[in-house]
Amino acid sequence: MIQFILNNKIINTSSNSGMTLLDFIRENEQLKGTKIGCREGDCGACTVLVGTLHKNKISYQSVTSCISPLGNANGKHIVTIEGINLAKDLNPVQQSLSDNHATQCGFCTPGFVVSLTGYVLRNPKGSLNTINDAISGNICRCTGYKSIEKAAIDIDEKLIFKDADHQVKWLVDKGFLPDYFNEIPKKLNDLKIQKLNSSSGTIVANGTDLYVQYADQLSDEKVHLIGEEHALKGIIFSNKVCTIGASTTVTELLKNERLLNIFPKLSSFLKLVSSQQIRNMGTLGGNFVNASPIGDMSILFLALNSTLKIKQKNGTTRKLPFQKFHQSYKKYDLQEGELISSVSFLIPDKNTVFNFEKVSKRQHLDIASVNAAGRITTKNNKISEAYFSLGGVAAIPKILTKTNDFLNGKKIDTKTIKQAEKILQSEISPISDVRGTSDYKRLLAKQLFFAHFIELFPEKIKFLNLIS
């Protein structure tokens, strides 16, 4: 039995936990405000909010309900557009969109309203630079976004005096949310949620990959949901090692202060990874086993020279260097019954720098043509350790072993980088596909390799010297 609160209604359902949350909302509950745009998490028309209770405090995230398994709603507060509406008046989010002519055909509009409501629920104070990110997963084909952007800025300005400690109450008082929101934490507590008993069937974390391809099958079949499994979540720092649970989402990485300290540019790197809705769901483990040669998380964690912990069928754990995990196209070292439980890496010291690059047809919410990461440790002006990884240039996410070996012990200068780039080219074998021709990918691989050095050593390495 799946139990949750949908808007202001307690749901007890025996529906298959593999069905999509979207279908449950539209078909079982006949709430038609949540729209079907693409069924692959790429348009945001089906965006809903998921409220999670933690120590009596509730926090809300936006997700695309089309690729979200119903079972993951267990114990949550799910909010659709209908649950945001006040009895009669438009709320300030809706009013700002209306005032700025930010709705035309109206099909994408509920998704925007829900995403923006997610924003006002999350952000204690106005911060202009993040509000567009809140709607990074919402596609509008009519407005050209300028009116939506203006509305978003207006909305943000209304939040300046928000009482951070009593977020929901403040929003209810100001007419952003209907009254019932105040009662939700208590109601959720009263529910006495049972864990879903589903340790067989297809393993699904939060569905962002599997549901794009197999939603129909998964809707009918048994699924084993691991996205909420405690043992697979969390970011732990100990003894120079950072260990991250495989079901940790990209957003959870972004919320971790310590990680942000270690990688000061992490936010800007991860902003290139999909959209906010998808980052709220997409897990590290999911990205690793998706095994796409251009998996952003794979590329990032390859360059960190990470180690995977894999839970075996008999309950014991084995360790595997991440660079050994991917074997050939979409094939990886994971036996039947095994599960990645965590990924860990040595916390970079002060002599180590890290960079991530990604170029795609559209710079956000797109799959890379080529993505690249690099971690360089220097000692006495020389490279003591280099780890470069590259995506979209081979059948698997590629660690550039030869290039890395070549760089070890070398001084960082233009000549060395150019020589290393030649070696890089000998290690890769890009193919032409919808993401670009092989010639382009080779050129891009070169440029992004150069970009690492230009970004990381701006004093020493100049753009013009590298390309001339």
Binding site: K32, K35, I81, C108, T109, T143, H364, V434
Partner: protein, 754 residues
């Protein structure tokens, strides 16, 4: 005129309460349809085995061409398209059968059980291949002005070149869909997501073998269309109607995104060649162009789109000698179709490319050539229409002055000098877009207005609401003309039983045509009510106007309310309903001579586009698009600016990231939202400034406004040339190519070509 009224659908949209086809409450016994389509791009159907699918539990019936009681034909301009393929298939995605089942999920499972055997025939995917093999949709067409041959001989500079502009997926957020229900006596009501309710009605009647009055088509609203639901909403609606006719149960079919992308046509890709001749003073003397339109496997609207390409071959320039020819080339792709601009953008891209080529060869700034060739009053378009109320130069010079082009140019120059990795580029893009259906008989519309006895008003027109806020404009015309508050007026659904024989909502002309009909109907009603009111107040009719829900006598508010007049009129048996018809005057076009006056008027404007290219990564950002646009006297500036911003983003998408890809077998590779990218909030221009051009407006348009749907899309073409400008600033060896979209891939390769 009020400028502040919002899209009247805003409230419902923002609350998720607006209804689309997929949101309708369905009857409990509703069945669900799903198309089984061709997996091969060209071939003979040897056999199709439906037995397993038919036996699948929950499948009610699988319809094929054999089940059609009328004619298996849905072609509009040319009858060359079957509803369900009979013996041959001509593109991947061509419908062959229609599975009707108890649920969508059952239909999907059944579809996977159908076995088809096809003997494959050669596949053509490009226009050029089709031209070489002589496979066309119809005969080529040519427009001619002056004599290009003689003129080229007298030119100081003559250049030739070729261009390619790719197709574009409409990506309306709401996919295609239809819900048909049986009524009594074999009548069928179809709720369709179509721009052309009459087209759906007409074709459904033909395929079902029933008179048109048996089919009622109702349209609530569309979740975006952009031309993609002008002709191509028809097939799905007709399929549901065929199923209803035989099963006598409601049938719903809403396409999933992949099916929609695979089975429907897109903007036409064009391969073109040009020859341009100039004299030393930069005047373009002659222009020859040959367009190869990739029409896909059936005519659809291709011939009309090809024609509009010819109409816009010279954009907003006057060229005394023009020879333009278009071939609609038949290929094995889904029939390409209408898309905002309707062939105009493809034509404009070529002339802009030709000017860019000439500028590059001559070593002059492209803008100098553009500027001295802008069309002026009484110049002749290549199709014989004499240009009047021309705003080309006015908008060009206004944009330069308003946004200080000199300063922008200076800033770009300094930036490019100081920066090695980043380069800026700018371009100017003028537009001149003709308003009217180029097929003159389509330029008409009707409105049916009811004043109910309590004073509330219902307005029905042939216009389809698809986000462009045409209903809001209709409401404006009605309440202003009737002198009542907007809240008294309701816009009804678009329904063939209330307003018949309509033209599709297209060609940017819908507000003009239907608005004029609403105006006419309201005026007739007001005349009648004036008579009633004049008797009630014992004053003459000429002293009366209706305003603010009251009768005003000699401009002074009386005690007499609108409601009171209406109630009295009712008792006096005065007709409170009116049906008005409007047909555009003046316009005509003679296809045998390819001359005439096809357009009621033109819309003008000019955009400055500024971009920054990251020369390390090949990525780019659009810094600003600054526009002076000819709205006429806008009826609703908030809505009209929204149209410009939206069209601009679509035009930029077409020119930059939206890349349609088919493989050699005719299979669509860019077949989902993960492989076909439309602009998101981060990729549109950082800044969009739109300034209305001060003009007198045009009497041929509604309330002196001007049509706004399509023209601004073509400002997006400026982005291509701005990026080109930035690339050239980085790479002195760059040889300008005209191959859109200018994806980051093409940018990077251009930056480093030697």
């Amino acid at each position: 005129m009020t400028k502040t009224i919002k899209n009247i659908d805003s409230y419902g949209h923002l609350r998720g309460a607006s209804l689309f086809v997929d949101d309708l409450i369905t009857r409990h016994d509703t069945l669900f349809g799903l198309v089984f389509d061709s997996p091969k791009a060209h071939g003979k159907i040897i056999s199709v085995d439906y037995t397993k699918a038919e036996d699948f539990k929950g499948v009610i019936k699988i319809f094929t061409y054999k089940d059609i009681l009328g004619v298996n034909q849905i072609g509009g301009i040319i009858p060359d398209e079957q509803l369900w393929a009979e013996k041959e298939v001509h593109f991947i995605g061509q419908p062959i059968a229609f599975i009707v089942a108890e649920s969508e999920s059952i239909a999907k499972k059944a579809r996977a059980l159908i076995n088809i055997e096809i003997k494959e025939l050669p596949v053509i995917t490009t226009a050029k291949e089709a031209k070489e093999k002589g496979i066309f949709i119809n005969a080529p067409r040519s427009f001619k002005l002056g004599n290009t041959k003689d003129s080229f001989a007298n030119c100081d500079y003559v250049y030739e070149g070729d261009t390619f502009s790719n197709g574009q997926e409409h990506l309306y957020l709401e996919t295609q869909g239809s819900y048909a229900i049986p009524m009594e006596n074999g009548n069928i009501k179809i709720t369709s997501s179509t721009q052309g309710p009459t087209i759906v009605q007409k074709i459904a009647a033909k395929v079902l073998g029933v008179p048109m009055n048996k089919i009622e088509v109702d349209v609530i609203r569309l979740g975006g269309a952009f031309g993609g639901k002008e002709d191509q909403a028809t097939a799905w609606a007709v399929m549901t109607a065929v199923a209803v006719q035989q099963l006598k149960k409601p049938v719903k079919y809403v396409l999933d995104r992949h099916d929609d992308m695979r089975m429907t046509g897109k903007r036409h890709p064009y391969e073109s060649t040009f020859k341009i001749g100039l004299t030393k003073d930069l005047k373009i003397q002659a222009f020859e162009v040959e367009y190869l339109q990739n029409s896909g496997a059936a005519a659809d609207l291709s011939p009309a789109i090809a024609e509009r390409t010819l109409f816009h071959a010279t954009n907003s320039y006057f060229i005394p000698n023009v020879m333009s020819t278009v071939y609609s080339c038949k290929t094995n792709l889904p029939p390409n179709t209408a898309f905002r601009g309707f062939g105009g953008p493809q034509g404009m891209f070529v002339i802009e490319s030709a000017i860019a080529r000439a500028a590059d060869e001559m070593g002059v700034n492209k803008r100098l050539i553009q500027e001295v060739n802008l069309i002026t009053e009484n110049d002749e378009f290549s199709y014989g229409q004499i240009a009047t109320q021309v705003e080309a130069q006015k908008s060009w010079f206004a944009v330069k002055e308003k946004f200080d082009l000199k300063k922008i140019e200076k800033e770009v120059e300094i930036f490019n000098k100081e920066n090695l990795q980043f380069k800026k580029g700018i371009s100017l893009m003028p537009i001149a877009f003709g308003i009217s259906f180029t097929y003159t008989p389509m330029n008409h519309a009707r409105a049916l207005i009811h004043i109910y006895q309590d004073g509330s008003v219902g307005v029905s027109t042939g216009a389809v609401e698809m986000g462009q806020s045409v209903n809001t404009k209709m409401l404006q015309v009605a309440y202003i003309t009737l002198g009542i508050s907007p809240s008294k007026v309701k816009l009804e659904t678009t329904n063939t039983t209330r307003v018949a024989n309509t033209s599709p909502t297209a060609a940017s002309a819908t507000a003009d045509l239907n608005g004029k009909a609403v105006l006419k109907a309201c005026n007739s009603l007001i005349e009648r009510l004036k008579l009633v009111a004049s008797k009630m107040l014992s004053v003459s009719e000429s002293e009366i106007i209706f305003k603010e829900d009251f009768v005003f006598v000699n401009n002074k508010k009386s005690e007499l309310t609108w409601e009171k007049v209406v109630a009295t009129a009712m008792l006096e048996r005065v007709a409170l309903s009116e049906n008005a018809h409007y047909a555009t005057a003046i316009i005509h076009f003679d296809k045998t001579k390819e001359k005439g006056h096809p357009f009621a008027y033109h819309v003008y404007g000019t955009a400055i586009t500024s971009v920054t290219v990251d020369c390390l990564r090949g990525t780019y950002e659009i810094d600003a698009v600054q526009i002076v646009h000819d709205f006429g006297k806008s009826m609703n500036l908030g809505i009209d600016i929204g149209q410009v911003e939206g069209a601009l983003a679509q035009g930029i998408g077409w020119m930059t990231m939206e890349e349609i890809a088919y493989n050699k077998n005719g299979q669509l590779l860019s077949n989902s939202l993960s492989s076909y990218k439309v602009p998101d909030i981060f990729s549109v221009a950082k800044k969009v400034d739109i300034v209305p051009l001060e003009t007198q407006g045009n009497d041929m348009a509604i309330l002196k406004s001007k049509a706004v749907g399509e023209p601004p899309l073509m400002y997006g073409i400026g982005t291509y040339f701005a990026i080109q400008d930035a690339v050239a600033a980085f790479n002195p060896n760059y040889k300008p190519k005209f191959h859109s979209p200018f994806t980051p891939e093409k940018v990077l390769l251009s930056l480093y070509e030697s």
